[in-house]
């Protein structure tokens, strides 16, 4: 582009910044409606039990109570992103401790909570399945007896408690083992991680005089909310309008349903608006977590460092309901070869039901788990071969035009530049020459790389030119704080060459917005951005048609000019403001100018000539972003505590539409990955969560995070991306655990294969190692 950009590439402040810094932004808990009731939930005390009987009479008799609903009040309707296995509230059975069993609407929250305690439920306990091993045992109790009959959106391979089995094969794995000179095999384990958006989940529903429902909720997709509520309540989708307030963070936890179906039910039963906001404990107990994973990785190499073959076996603990689990499994397996040329690959695994809180989407979607294993093992291989870990990676790196596991060709690939950037910025090659670390500290450096997609499913955009020439953009994409409203507005403004202030962006509304699958899969900038650009071009075309009619020239002779004008190329005086064009369209000829576009991501993931895939729930996943991360850590010899001192991350995002927002995504992802690597773990004490509070579940605070957190943006344009852009939302989290594990090994000589790598685990590994610190050093 010869002209200066008006919006794209500029670090403009987020559109809603002033609203947020003044406290005026309205989140779900801040909303209120006249005559509003408050809802509360009774949770299951058992992990697995049959519900025999309810007695709600005492609760109903409590003054101020308007309604009590139980499973008996809900029909046989089930929801689920991949397998329709979940009812809005427990029906017939409970399947995890904390599952909603009954709900109350009352005049105030305290009364609703008191009423819940007056509900008597009689249970018959069933054997609880609390691990993948127990679930797959031959005589295991079955958690979903009707699994075979559940509707599935893909040909799932399900059996017993195994919700989904997936396998992907490429090349000839047996030949691979024969050609390998060294074979490395390790098992890695990662725990459940809580999303911990600072805003707890909640919803507010209201019926109108015709019985139609409007639903506000903490969400990542008004359309997924609509689908889930309507599936689980048996409502036609047209009878439910879903809108969104501001969202206080969403990392996957607000993508699928939480309490929305129950709140809608209470509003329909009472005929009054009903609001329910979960407490932090309830949010921990009944929403979702990152899948606990066991990952076996076996890699064969030549002595010169050439990677020959990779096998990955993955067991995911899906918890009580399917949610996004089959997708997470399939995606994790697709990522398990990493961005490397490995000719022979077989990856396979199960996601399994257990009597625990459901696992679901969480930033990275299975990739952080497998990448922790794969990128840690690569470090071990480098060490065994006496190679620099960066050199081993560079030797085997996928090049632009190479094919991802499964066969998709990947042209936009800036990974080599990402690695070069962090190598340079971190002074990797001079790291051994640094001054000695403080006394009683050991220093280490680690590297890991990552790739991640942006894409998936349907999206759309509508761009309307108003009578005065100003523009309204409507996409249905929920901005969960990451800044997508701003980025999409920048894309629209750039395409129409108008100042960003001249574009207003509508809030997502299932009544008026085009479909948008959701704010997930790092997809909004890339997929919705494409739709915004195409819809803006549609408006441009119509503006030019109007102007051509007025000027009696060809549309090919016309150009958009900065500031909202259209003119004849080379004739400065011949131009019209958008106002004139739009007014004419509204009042005289052509009709109002509305540009629109919808699309679905449709490049196939699997090329049947290159690979075989069984039970894979996605046919078309997306385009690839790349990242490299180097970190420097110091480990305390006395405590085993790891302090992350510095981090350098480079991410190939195609094109940074708003560089400051891209940095925000990189920094936030790194820190969430740091929590996953070092401290975070949802712990079950038997069937019950042991740490469902912020007192007991730690996330990184300012003191746990280095100020030296350097983000480097690399731009290898994605040809079909808007202005070359691809996604950035998840990728920066992915390499963090392995980079830290590799740095810990560099510092202390111990390999940790289980997250979190907390002080106790590091110290135990270290003490067990010859040449590590001695017990006596702990005496003081």
């Amino acid at each position: 582009m010869s002209e200066a950009a008006v919006a794209v590439g500029l670090s403009l402040p987020k559109l809603e910044t002033v609203e947020k810094v003044t406290g005026r932004a309205q989140y779900i808990a801040d909303l209120s409606r006249p005559g509003m009731l408050h809802g509360a939930i009774l949770q299951s005390p058992y992990p697995h039990a049959r519900i025999l009987r309810y007695d709600t009479s005492a609760a109903l008799a409590l003054p101020g109570v308007h309604a009590v609903v139980t499973g008996d009040d809900f029909g046989e309707h089930r929801m689920g992103a991949f397998v329709k296995d979940e009812t809005a509230i427990a029906k017939g059975k409970v399947r995890y401790v904390g599952e909603p069993v009954a709900a109350v609407a009352a005049e105030d929250e305290a009364t609703a909570r008191r009423a819940c305690q007056l509900i008597d439920v009689e249970y018959e306990e069933l054997p609880a399945i609390l691990s993948v091993e127990e679930a797959l045992a031959p005589d295991a109790a079955i958690i979903h007896e009707d699994l075979a009959g559940y509707f599935k959106v893909f040909p799932a391979i399900s059996k017993g408690n195994s919700l989904s089995y997936t396998e992907i094969k490429e090349g000839d794995i047996e030949r691979g083992w024969r050609e390998s000179e060294l074979v490395f095999e390790n098992i890695f384990e990662t725990p459940a991680q809580a999303h911990l958006a600072i805003e707890p989940c909640g919803a507010l529903a209201e019926t109108d005089a015709q019985g139609r429902v409007t639903l506000w909720s903490a969400n990542q997709s008004v359309f997924r909310v609509q689908a889930n509520v309507c599936e689980s309540l048996g409502l036609p989708m047209s009878k439910l309008r879903c809108v969104t307030p501001r969202i206080g963070g969403g990392f996957g936890n607000k993508m699928e349903a939480h309490v929305q179906p129950i709140v809608v039910k209470l509003a329909m039963v009472t005929g009054r608006p009903v609001k329910m906001i979960l407490t932090r404990e309830e949010d921990f107990q009944m929403v979702r977590v990152r899948h606990p994973a066991k990952i076996r990785i076996k890699t064969g190499v030549k002595r010169d460092g050439t990677l020959v073959v990779r096998e990955c076996e993955l067991h995911l603990d899906g918890g009580a309901f399917g949610d996004d689990s089959p997708g997470v499994l399939g995606y994790a397996l697709l990522m398990s070869r990493g961005p490397y040329r490995i000719p022979h690959t077989r990856c396979h695994g199960h996601v399994v039901y257990t009597n625990k809180l459901r696992s679901g989407a969480f930033r990275g979607f299975g990739n952080p788990q497998v990448s922790f294993g794969a990128e840690t093992q690569l470090d071990e291989i480098a060490e065994a071969l006496g190679m620099d870990p960066i050199e081993l990676r560079l030797k085997n790196l996928m090049q632009p035009g190479d094919h991802w596991l499964g066969g998709q060709r990947v042209d936009s690939n800036g990974l080599a530049d990402c690695i070069a950037a962090v190598r340079e910025a971190s002074s990797w090659d001079r790291r051994k020459a640094l001054p000695a670390p403080p006394e009683s500290k050991r220093r280490g450096f680690g590297i890991a790389v990552a790739a991640h997609i942006s894409g998936l499913l349907g999206t759309g955009a509508i761009v309307r030119l108003l009578e005065d020439g100003s523009v309204v953009l409507n996409t249905g994409a929920v901005d969960i704080g990451q800044g997508s409203d701003t980025v999409l507005t920048q894309i629209c403004a750039e395409a129409l060459k108008i100042p960003i202030e001249q574009v207003s962006t509508a809030s997502p509304d299932t009544d008026g917005s085009p479909y948008n699958w959701g704010t997930t899969a790092s997809r909004v900038t890339y997929t919705t951005g494409r739709a915004v650009l195409a819809a803006s071009r549609d408006v441009e075309r119509q503006i030019k048609e109007q102007a051509a009619d007025i000027f009696e020239c060809s549309t090919a002779d016309l150009e958009l000019r900065p500031g909202g004008r259209v003119g004849i190329k080379g004739v400065q005086a011949k131009e019209l403001p958008f106002l004139v064009v739009s007014a004419r369209a509204h009042w005289r000829k052509g009709g109002p100018i509305v540009g629109s576009n919808t699309l679905v991501y449709e490049t196939p993931t699997i090329d049947p000539k290159r690979a075989v895939a069984l039970g894979l729930p996605f046919q078309q996943i997306g385009v690839y972003s790349f990242a490299a991360l180097v970190t420097e850590v110091e480990i305390d010899e006395a405590t085993g505590q790891t302090e992350v001192k510095r981090v350098w991350t480079a991410v190939d995002v195609g094109k940074a539409i708003n560089p400051r927002l891209v940095e925000g995504q990189i920094e936030g992802g790194v820190v969430q990955g740091l929590g996953f690597a070092l401290v975070e773990e949802v712990v079950w004490d038997g069937a019950r969560l042991a740490n469902p509070t912020l007192m007991d579940y730690k996330i990184p605070g300012t003191m746990d995070v280095p100020y030296e957190l350097h983000s480097i943006i690399v731009e290898h344009a994605q040809e079909d991306g808007p202005f070359g852009a691809k996604g950035v939302g998840e990728i920066s989290l992915v390499p963090v655990p392995a980079a830290i594990a590799n740095a810990i090994h560099d510092a202390a000589g111990v390999r940790l294969r289980r997250l979190p790598m907390n002080a106790e685990r590091v110290l135990r590994a270290w003490l067990a190692k010859e040449g590590g610190p001695k017990e006596k050093s702990l005496a003081h």
């Binding site: 406290g23 005026r24 600072i198 990451q482 936030g668 509070t693 912020l694």
Partner: protein, 157 residues
């Protein structure tokens, strides 16, 4: 249990209220007065999203009983700007890109306001220590620290 009469000077204005003895300042602000800028993130005093200033000191709204605050000056996020003119910390948060979802921002900016009064030349490490009681899950904190640094640099000039 009878309600207790209290007078709170909220954002410069006296508010005479009758509150139950167990009502927290966060409940009073949000539910009674409609000042929803203070957020309930954990209701346990850990996350800091409910941070407000009492006599200039940052406190947890969820752990403070309104009945104990009688006669105190309370500053909430709604009281930081002067009309349409943002306070320096608000401007700095906006310009540094320190706000993502915004749910922690009110508490974070109030904690930062108190920090800057106490340590007008705070270093990076002093800022990190001063904000250690406020959790953010979106940002990674770097841009928050940068925002506070920019206020300090502006005021030091």
């Amino acid at each position: 249990m009878s309600d207790i009469a209290v007078t709170l000077k909220i954002n410069g204005r006296d508010r005479a209220l009758h509150v139950p003895a167990g009502e927290t300042l966060l409940e009073t602000l949000r539910d009674r007065l409609g000042l929803t800028g203070a957020k309930r993130g954990c209701n346990q005093g850990v996350c800091g999203a409910c941070t407000v200033l009492i006599e200039g000191q940052p406190v947890r709204g969820c752990l403070s009983l309104s009945a104990n605050c009688d006669g105190s000056a309370v500053t909430t996020i709604e009281g930081l700007a002067k009309g349409q003119a943002l306070a320096p910390i608000q401007k700095a948060f906006a310009e540094a890109g320190a706000v993502q979802c915004g749910f922690c921002s009110s508490g974070m900016m109030l904690a930062a306001t108190a920090l800057i009064v106490e340590h007008p030349r705070a270093t990076v490490d002093e800022i990190r220590a001063g904000l250690a009681g406020n959790l953010c899950r979106c940002s990674g904190y770097r841009k928050i620290v940068d925002a506070v640094l920019s206020v300090i640099a502006g005021e030091a000039r």
